[in-house]
Amino acid sequence: MIQSLPLLPRAASTIAGNVDALFSYILGVSLFFATLIAVLIVVFAIRYRRRPGRELAPSSAGNLPLEIGWMVVPLAIAMTMFVWGASVFVAMRSPPDNSLQVYVVGRRWMWKVQHVEGKREIDSLHVPVGRPVKLTMTSEDVIHSFYIPAFRLKQDAVPGRYTILWFEATKAGRYHLFCAEYCGTQHSRMIGDIVALEPAEYQAWLAGESAPGAGTVSMVDAGQDLFNQLGCATCHKMDGEGRGPILAGVPGSHVALANGATVVADDSYLRESILDPQAKVTRGFQPIMPTYKGLVSEDQLLQLIEYIKSLQPPARVAQAAQGAQPAAARE
């Protein structure tokens, strides 16, 4: 356990060194003043403690030069911190022109990443080392915050607008991605990996199969295996005779719920329906599905969702396509 106690996070971006240097500077100043105050208090407390026989003499009740001094000196030091901090911040907010463009959409509770080349990732982001990467971000629901401690960077993803974050990874490796803005139930599970790859590996990855780390098996195939393995097909039959709804065509469509509401069957809905099936029961069906929480991993969930998305109902393609249209938020 003790071996796993780091005191400084890994530093793996061009800006991380600047942030750490500024941090060290402020830490040094803080330690100086904290020590100064502590030593003075301890010395005074001992030296001037109440003792029998010591004369009680009125000491000076003020000293103007001293007061001005301890206002001006801290202010001057603080201004150096401001200038340094501001310059680091401006660098953080100025993406170079040759940046690689990546799009990020936060939603409760996942990060969806899409590369310009068409490659998609969820809760992970593969980037090349040594090349600036610019993320354009938004959120589909509430505010999220894209946070990479190893890069010392963070930016909120705000619904209704784009925000931008850029970085340049300096070391290949796998780094934490956290959501740092509280976003509801699974805020603490809205985490992922930043995978920094050497340029050649990155190119290979980019050219590789769709699901990261899935090897030769596509996510759809893996999802189908899971679907059969977990016994989903017993109820969710393709012919509509099962105890659960037909899943083909559900993703992206409007699902009428037992409680009278309607939801858009997005990824979150599918995910929720597997992990917490009682939350939003489709109208006309009994709340009998057991939870698969703890039985399927996040990866497997995504494979299941991918598989469900791949299901094509022969006669209902048109309807599904219609349902997947972005409907206006208010009808």
Binding site: R93, Q101, Y103, V105, R107, Q114, H115, V116, T136, T138, E140, D141, P159, G160, R161, Y162, T163, I164, G252, A261, T262, V263, V264, D266, D267, S268, A324, P326, A327, A328, A329, R330
Partner: protein, 120 residues
């Protein structure tokens, strides 16, 4: 007891001025002055408020502290307004778009879902 009795005649004069300013602001609003319309409307409103505060509320007779607090309140509203508008005016780097218009606005971005909102 401090009683600064003002003559009712003064009050009536102030009242007439207030009504006249109301007529003026309604008239001025019909003329197209561009962005100046809002400025003129607010200027007249401020003048009216000044008349009410000074004469009806007797600020000219009230204590120095009262005046400081009133000014502080107005200054702090302007501070709140100024701080938030400063942010709004200088967001060069961010494009502000309603969510619905964002889909497809940037090549490569696909929003295959919608915010889950309580049914209105």
């Amino acid at each position: 007891m401090t009683a600064h009795v003002t003559s009712p005649r003064t009050y009536v004069f102030v009242f007439v001025a207030l009504i006249a300013l109301t007529a003026l602001t309604v008239t001025a609003a019909q003329i197209d002055l561009g962005w100046m319309n809002a400025v003129v409307a607010l200027a007249i409103a401020t003048l009216k408020a000044f008349l009410v505060v000074t004469f009806f509320m007797g600020l000219r007779f009230s204590s120095f502290v009262s005046r400081v607090w009133l000014l502080a309140a107005v200054a702090f509203v302007l501070l709140l307004l100024g701080g938030s508008l400063d942010d709004l005016f200088t967001r060069h780097t961010a494009t502000y778009l309603p969510y619905e218009q964002m889909d497809g606005a940037v090549p490569g971005i696909g929003l295959d879902g919608l915010p889950t909102r309580p049914a209105h």
